[in-house]
């Protein structure tokens, strides 16, 4: 009789079960819905999706909104994280930036909507982007702050002593050394922004229609096939952006995973 031993392997079973149920099964279902039409393998869902110019417009707009949001987050987040890492109370101040994340994001977005309306701002693409930046900014600041505060000060001092101008110190020392933070910040902001739907619906009175909204409508209308194709497109986008980011970051990314 084989002995049942409480090895480490035994403790991984619940985790494996969880992954099978909630990660593998949904993926298989998406593939089945996308490729199988009336019991046969069929690409008609793909033809339906890619043959419709409106779908392409939605996808382009979503990617553009994602790019703008990520850029804004980076450009607001980087100086913020940089300043915070210079301050003694930086660790505490970071908390203030993260605090909004403790509030449920739907409530946060509804509150943002009320503020925009009270200020008399016309809801539209501008408010959608503002809402997204507000929601995802902490995701950018957090990894950036961790990396920037981890940079050894003596590198900066050495660069200065050796005669580098401040601009050179910044571009040749600080930015390259914080690259890992920038990369993980971009990943954490860009990917969720492409697929959000609640923010765009609430902050534009549903007049801005993004990729996430489109997927939601497909599943609402029972069009599982096309909806699944769109989910695959989404997955491919995620993998693609990860691939590109990894390529760009090159050797620097080995500590990436430790940041989060």
């Amino acid at each position: 009789m084989k002995k049942l031993t409480l090895s480490r392997k035994v403790f991984s079973y619940p985790y494996i079960l969880f992954m099978l149920l909630f990660v593998v099964t949904p993926l298989v279902l998406i593939l089945v819905n996308a490729f199988i039409v009336d019991g046969k393998i069929d690409f008609s869902n793909f033809v339906d999706y890619f043959g419709n110019p409106a779908n392409m417009n939605v996808l382009t707009l979503s990617i553009e909104v994602g790019v703008i949001t990520t850029l804004l987050c980076l450009l607001i987040g980087y100086p913020t994280a940089y300043l915070l890492s210079k301050m003694n109370a930086g660790k505490l101040l970071v908390l203030i930036f993260i605090m909004p994340m403790w509030v449920n994001f739907l409530l946060r977005t509804l509150a943002t909507k009320t503020i925009f309306e009270a200020l008399g701002v016309q809801l539209g693409i501008g408010t959608v982007i503002a809402g997204m930046v507000y929601n995802y900014l902490p995701m950018m600041i957090l990894p950036l702050h961790t990396t920037i505060s981890g940079i050894d000060k003596s590198y900066i001092e050495a660069a200065g002593d050796l005669g580098a101008s401040p601009l050179r110190v910044f571009t040749r020392v600080v930015v390259p050394m914080s690259m890992t933070g920038i990369i993980s910040g971009i990943t954490m902001v860009f990917i969720p922004t492409i697929s959000t739907f609640a923010i765009s619906q609430l902050l534009s009175n549903s007049s801005i229609y993004l990729f996430g909204d489109s997927i939601q409508l497909k599943f609402d209308q029972g069009m599982y096939g096309v909806g699944s194709v769109m989910s695959i497109v989404m997955l491919v986008l995620v993998l693609l952006s990860n691939f590109i980011i990894n390529k760009v970051s090159g050797r620097d990314n080995q500590n990436r995973s430790t940041l989060l």
């Binding site: 409480l6 553009e64 910044f170 007049s207």
Partner: protein, 458 residues
């Protein structure tokens, strides 16, 4: 030692299994009923009242598990999947037609036989409602649809507007009000459309009908046939109407329209009559009105009927049939009607004469301070007459009020709707400007924070 491990592992596994059993198996005497209704479509206290009534009649207790959906399409998807138990649910006529075609429903007769409980209050339904349903849905693939559902509420699709802002000239444009055809500058960007394919399509087709934009090949089609048709030619007409409407809109909504109208954040809103009644009741200033646009003196629009159905996933048939029966009872009908604003499908002539209903109306009058506490009986009678004669609540029959039927081609209608909603905005200049401006700012901030003593000249 290894024996100990085996014992330990078996104890853990047994404890785990026991825990699952305790969590998974409920007390078999704990009977429940799954009710799936549209949002804000019932007076919540009637649910408790049903639980009490059920215990009174049968002697056993029941718990109602009540859940809601926002559009018929969501409900249809859930019922069609068939993986969740739903004992009784509400749907609009076209959705019921689809469910019937897909063979998802029990007939009322089957339910009555299987549950040995008769839904006798179904006989109280308004003859007008029954007539319309018999006329349009009397033969759905050989079945009479009325045998499969019990009407719950009905009403029209029309326009809720702010009467302080919308002028008489604006109203003259009829459905054109949704496109601000009167050119009222106050209405620009203050119009709300429904974020729902079917309702927006119906409104667009009504506008096209009013303005003779329907292609010639559809001459002789009734309004109902037009708003139920998903032919490409008609979809193209609707698409152009909806596209030209877009610049005038504030946005699309399904749930916040009432609040925005009351708070004057919007002045015109495509609305179902019940939502409109509710908003008019709740608005303290009396600035809201509702109308169904007319063509040659006849109301032109959509009239819809919602009803209770019992899907084949139902498990508690006795509970379901008693629920439907209970919902048709005069006092419960009245309570729901006063609470949600929609018009019950129960014959108003029966409600008018019912003593309980009269008392509820009197309470309603005092609660909303419509009349003073010392109002005479004549005044109260007069109010009750007006309540039942209100043409918003009980629309007059009109040949131009169409009923929706199931689309033949849902997918092309959804694509049309997506094309309307997917606005192309060129964001590339914004990306470049934003990148440039903020890059400069970021650089300055970072440079300024570098310690001064390192700023050496080369």
């Amino acid at each position: 030692m290894s024996k100990l491990k085996v014992i330990l592992a078996s104890v853990l596994i047994l404890a785990f299994i026991a825990g699952m059993i305790v969590l998974g198996i409920k007390d078999p005497t704990d009977e429940y009923l799954v009710v799936y209704n549209c949002e804000e479509y019932i007076e919540p206290s009637t649910i408790d009242a049903f639980e009490e009534y059920y215990e009174e009649v049968t002697g056993s207790s029941i718990t109602v598990r009540y859940s809601t959906y926002d559009t018929n399409e969501t409900m249809l998807t859930k019922v069609r999947n068939g993986d969740a138990r739903i004992d009784v649910c509400v749907g609009s006529e076209y959705a019921i037609e689809r469910m019937l075609k897909l063979d998802l429903l029990y007939s009322i007769a089957e339910v009555e036989t299987l549950s040995s409980h008769a839904i006798s209050n179904s006989a109280l339904v308004n003859p007008y409602v029954d007539g319309k349903i018999a006329e349009l849905f009397g033969d759905v693939e050989g079945e009479n649809m009325r045998d499969y559902f019990v009407p719950y509420m009905y009403g029209t699709l029309g326009i809720l507007y702010n009467n302080e802002v919308v002028t008489e000239e604006d109203l003259q444009t009829g459905w054109g009000l949704m496109l601000n055809e009167g050119g009222n500058p106050l209405l620009e960007g203050m119009i709300l459309m429904k974020d729902s394919v079917r309702d927006s399509y119906a409104a667009a087709i009504c506008y096209a009908y009013q303005n003779d934009m329907i292609p010639g090949e559809y001459d002789g089609y009734s309004v109902g046939q037009l708003i139920s048709c998903s032919d490409d030619a008609l979809l193209a007409v609707a698409e152009s109407v909806l596209n030209s409407q877009r610049p005038h809109l504030k946005g699309y909504e399904v749930d916040f329209g009432k609040d925005d109208m009351i708070a004057s954040r919007a002045y015109v809103c495509l609305a179902w009559s019940g939502d409109a009644m509710y908003a008019i009741d709740e608005d303290p200033d009396g600035k809201l009105s509702y109308f169904v646009p007319e063509l040659d003196g006849e109301a032109l629009g959509n009239v819809w009927f919602d009803g209770w159905v019992i899907p084949k996933t139902a498990d508690n048939l006795r509970g379901a049939s008693m629920w439907v029966d209970f919902m048709c009872r005069e006092d419960i009908t009245m309570a729901n009607m006063l609470s949600v604003g929609y018009t019950s499908a129960i014959d108003p002539d029966i409600l008018r004469l019912d003593e309980d209903c009269r008392q509820m109306l009197v309470d309603y009058i005092y609660e909303y301070e419509i009349l003073d506490e010392d109002a005479s009986d004549e005044e109260i009678d007069e109010f009750i007459e007006l309540f039942f004669d209100d043409t918003v609540r009980y629309p007059e029959t009109s040949a131009l009020l169409g009923v929706m039927q199931d689309y033949k081609n849902v997918d092309s209608a959804v694509s049309m709707w997506e094309r309307v909603k997917a606005e192309t905005i060129d964001l590339i200049p914004a990306i470049l400007i934003g990148l440039g401006a903020l890059g400069v700012v970021a650089l300055i901030v970072c440079l300024a924070t570098l310690p001064k003593r390192y700023r050496l000249k080369k």
